[in-house]
């Protein structure tokens, strides 16, 4: 369902980017990087109005011709970006939400690993597996 899933550190460098192998990886890198502007805009907008009680899910960041980009920010300002094919109209907002929740959970698991150095890029087989599960056509 997702064509690209990225985890971006607080300092806006990539911790993890996976995209479907059939397409140009560079394009997704650019897309994800550019989406960070929107993420930051959304965070700053939300931060003023509601305060600390913040919805982590940012919703659709922006649609491009071929893709829809969704964003999610953890409380530690780690950003998750999921790029979905625009043609995939069956995907509802709720499903995207649950994908992000799943992603967040497995990210938390990675962070809980005492041998993981926070700030390093993620190299975990379990995490890879979860991401792969979200990338394939599961419905």
């Amino acid at each position: 369902m997702a064509v690209c899933i990225a985890v971006i550190a607080k300092e806006n460098y990539p911790l993890y980017i996976r995209s479907v192998p059939t397409q140009n990886e560079l394009k997704f890198h650019y897309t994800v990087h550019t989406s960070l502007d929107v993420v930051e805009e959304k965070i700053s907008a939300v931060g003023k109005s509601i305060g600390d009680q913040r919805e982590l899910y940012l919703g659709l960041l922006y649609p491009t011709e071929d893709y829809k980009v969704y964003g999610y920010v953890t409380n530690t300002k780690v950003k998750f970006v999921i790029v979905v094919d625009s043609s995939n109209t069956s995907l509802r907002d709720n499903e995207i939400r649950s994908m992000f929740r799943k992603l967040h959970n497995s990210f938390t698991d990675v962070m809980c690993n005492p041998f993981h150095n926070p700030g390093d890029s993620i190299q975990s087989k379990t995490f890879d597996g979860i991401i792969s599960g979200m990338m394939v056509q599961t419905g």
């Binding site: 990539p14 990886e25 990087h33 502007d37 805009e41």
Partner: protein
Amino acid sequence: MAQGVQSVQEFIQDSFVPMVAVLCSEEAGRVTRKNNLNFAELLRPFCRLTSEGHIRDPNNQLQVVKNLRICVNNVVTSTNTPSATLGPSQCRLLNEVVSSCQPQEGAVNNVVTAGEYNLNVSATTPWFESYKEKFLQSMPASDHEFLNHYLACLLVVSSTEVVPVEQFLKLSQEQHRIQHSGEHSIPKWFIPNTLKYYVLLHDMSEGNEQRADMVYEDMKQRYGSQGCYLLKINTRSISAEDGEQIPDPWCQYLHRNSLPNQVSTDYSSGGLHTLCAINTDLEKCSRVPEGVVGGAGIHGACLTLSDHDHIRQFVQEFTFRGLLPHIEKNIRQLNDQLVSRKGLSRSLFTATKKWFGGSKVPEKSISEPKSTCGLLYPPEAPELQIRKMADLCFLVQHYELAYSCYHTAKKDFLSDQAMLYAAGALEMAAVSAFLQAGAPRPYPAHYMDTAIQTYRDTCKNMVLAERCALLSTEILKSQGKYSEAATLLIKMTSEDSDLRSALLLEQAAHCFINMRNPMVRKFAFHMILAGHRFSKAGQRRHALRCYCQAMQVYKERGWSLAEDHINFTIGRQSFTLGQPENAVLAFKQILTIDSRQTATQQGAFLREYLYVYKVITVCNDVCLLQLPLPCINSSATRVYFGHERRLAEGEKQAATHVSLDQEYDPDLAAMWFHLEEQLVTAANRGITPVNFQPTQYCLNCQTDNLRHPLAVMEEPIIVEVMFRNPLKVSLVLSNLSLIWNFTLDGVPPLKEKMPDKLTISNEETLARLQLLPHRTGELNIVGVVYDLAAASSGDMCGLLLLTCKQALELMTGRGKQDLNIQGPRLNQTKEDKMLVRRGLDKRLDPIITPPMPLLEVFFLQFPTALLCGEIRKAYVEVCNVSGVALCGLRVISTHPDFFTFGSKSAPLSTIHPTSAENNSAYQTFATPLQPDLVASEMLVSAEDFSQPSDVIDIPIEGNTLQPGESTQLPLWLRGPDQEGVHEINFLFYYENIDKGNKNRCHRVLRHTVFICASRSLSVQASAFRSSIPPHHVLDDKGGGGTLVFIDVENLNTSDAGVCEFHIVQVSSSSQHWRLHKCINPAKEKGGCGTLVLNSLCFFKYIFSVQISIPEFPEYIDVASSTTSSGSRSKSCSPAEERVRDITNIVKKCNELDLNVIIIWKAYVIEDNKQLILEGQLNVALQTIGKEATSLPPKQEAQEMVLLKFKSELPTPVITPSGELSQIIKTNLHYPETYIHPFVQNSLCVVPVTLMLSNCSSAQVDVIINLRHKSTSPESAEVHSLFTWVGQSQYKRQLKPQEVLCLTLQACFLQAGVYNLNTPKIFAKPSEQGAMCETSQQASTPALIIINNA
């Protein structure tokens, strides 16, 4: 920031100006051409009116027209219908405009700070400004709007004409023909009756001025004074070459499109920079036309400043007297028409149109079939009148009226579904709404959006859509709505025009960065997109600039894939633009960072880089360039001084010394330094030189590199460089060599460069490069130089070898890399800790010294395995391989007890490993042995043990070794006492015989051996004080004896090769003791298996007798260092020492200092041959009563120390009562059996002598208590049977070593066996007044048998 120079209002005003056509007679053309201009060009610099004009609107309100500009153009006729797209020529023109306009070198850049980003963004985009201008100028006139239709026509006739009036007539007819004949679709005219303005051009230099005036008067009569003008120009003749410099206002208007440098865009509101820019521009302008136009000179050569004024006046006159009244009149007419129509209600008007089909339906069918853009009106359709009026109002800056007209027109057009017209009206309505002063209504952005959409989607007219978008974005930007502007710009990008898309994307990027919260990443991304489109459009420079700007955002932020892509593009663009240096830099960055690209991609990058690199190196072959690959781990560089060692030569085994293959071990290094220090100290007669520095042969990052290392002439210097290849493709390095400087009197060093290696490195590869210095001086190794090539991939191998080679040569770049070694980080002072300071590292700066001697040491028959205590003979060969004699050969070892040098006299012929008997360490000496007393006494001189330290001089003849000379020496080895693998280090020391070298005169050679020691015998010995009474001893000299028990155990159970051990000899060595008697000479042969051999020996104490028998023949060649080591230090007589401390007294008293030596033979079967191994074990007995073994005590595993939070109470000083209790030795002398007739006398009194001997060397107070009751009940029972009679308590003082006899009497009541050893003796040293007497140890029971007679 991409703000235009003009304000947006000015920009829009200038985009829509009244158009004036020019028709010129031949003659008039000739007059103007004198100035290298045509008439329209002549007027162009003066087309902006400086003064205000006035106009009255239909309501008779006065309207001010400010800053009006008119546009004067020659009439160019064409039959082409305006197309919806730009023609190829126009496209080319636009492309040229953009490419000719590049950012200036020192252009002002804005620094935009957004979050963690600091970006350098170009302040202006002049290429876009000029594109915009050119684009709007080249807009084709369209039917749906009238703004760029000609309003007036200037008819220009020269005064030199024969009949000027006729000419005017002709031109007037011509104009009429063009406008009304319908042959030409271009130019388009605003109003059917175009304003004709008659201009009589008078050339002052040639024509008759009066005639001209006459003609003008005539014209005034004919056309009215407001419809004609006499323009006098060319006051100067061409030939008049006076020095008066007249500013050339034409150049910026005429050549801006063809000249490479852009001029006009920088006319902003001042500032030093802009002024400079103008000046330079003007200079350029004045220079260039000469080249371009040729000899005709600059424009306006015949015009004086007053002529300029004339022209200006003319334009003003024409505008204010001719044009504006004409427009005013037309507005009024149109208004009247509209007002008359207003009588009908609009709804009714439209309703009737619908019901009756209107009059337009046939018109529509006549003019044009309904096209995609909807309805097309005929040029004079009534619906267009209102639009015409609106346009006129707009042109004269009456925006309020214009807006209401546009608004009305829009409604009409929309209801007619005339989409193109509606879009045009919408666009202009929005613009005029924006331009209204005071802004009574907000800017209707949605009008614009609708207009753009209609233009683009419905009418498929991209040109109009683009114009609309340009206007809209300018307006939006001026209102700070950057986000909307960006969206609009991005929407306008399309596949049909790369140039437009690129420019618009770039503008969009600038919009993102100019937002209140700058969107840096979007800026970067759109810059990349723009760069891509620029490169597609062939605008390489702009593409490169865009990529470079985007790079700022992506650089070093972890987005390596994007970074690589940008770098690669920058590299390519730079290379094609002829900037290979920048290209190389960009490619370098791809290759140095740890890229996550695939191997093939990396290979491609590498090939590209090498190709560009090669181009660069071909261009400038003066100096080598730095290569980025492979990475050099500078700090891992190792430097080795000296030859590479031969490890073995035949049977000879060379000293291991130091080699580059060894890992550096700081502990080992410290050990070697310590050994060397001892050697140097010994060589300098016990004084360590102040400037002593340990010799370092191999330097690395952990060694002390603060001083220049010393290298010896004619001895190689090997530099080991560690290369790391960060790529996934392998690299080939060839022709590696070192770069070095040699500094000494500018003498070119004669040096040989050895390395010529080919290294293929995949991960970390070491390369060893060698230098051989031929002169003394200071060397400085700077870096490495090599040829870099990508390893040939698999498909290349399939090609022919020749082509492969060629390809390899093609892809090879020669470059260098520096070896910058950073010193260790300093951490001494506070400043060091707070800053990062680095120390010196002079690893690569050796000083070449004159030749030095060089020693090589070989070992022959050196064993690798020994039994514990085994004695083995080996040979050592020392060889001087240099050209300088050496002397002062010494050696030191970590295990001094492991070896000793044998005398040179031993015959060398006996070195035969099989003849073990010949090789025996011992010589059997036929001594007549007494059969009952095996013990024999030997004395060994003290000088034999007189090595002052562990340093051993190597006994070579003459103490010098001449060049090329070698000597062989026997070497006795003794297996270590402890089993296991032992590392034994030798350090050989030698000196230059000529001590002139101030830097260093000694050298050292290291050797490390590993000896595997296996278990042999274990000897346990213990000594006890003999309790035999002195009178039993034959020759009593006033001391006591000691009994020594020796247990020998065969521990060698595991080794099947060893068959049996034989104890050959037991001897002792001491300064104080003499073997007296062997009590139990159990000379059993210890067979295989564990056997306890119990020998009991008795030694005689000889007090303070100096041993001085010089030579001892039986004791030859035995490594006796162990035997001697214990006794050596205590050669002085103990009696002379003044003993003060109580513990000392006690120790002295128990001191034994006796060594027992066991010599054994072992029969070993090895390779089906029986070998006899010999060995010797030593036991050092130190104190009486303690057991000593030949094995060194095993170290207990260190227990973990528990943390203690409370300080421990100091342990009370406990007097060593156990040891104090042995000060006094007691003996009881009595008859063993005593027969007493109890019948006669019931009391039996037996005399008993108590002998007290003081074992210590101090005075002792003794108390003897006979009545002391023991606490134990058992002894109490015994006590009751007999009693001591007479004095029951004695107090005596004993001198050192004194023996005291007391006669006591014991009284028995009945027969039996009694233990007489009941007296309690307490002793204390006399000087220790405060101390309590200590109870002395009771000796063995003294039994007496009383028989009844």
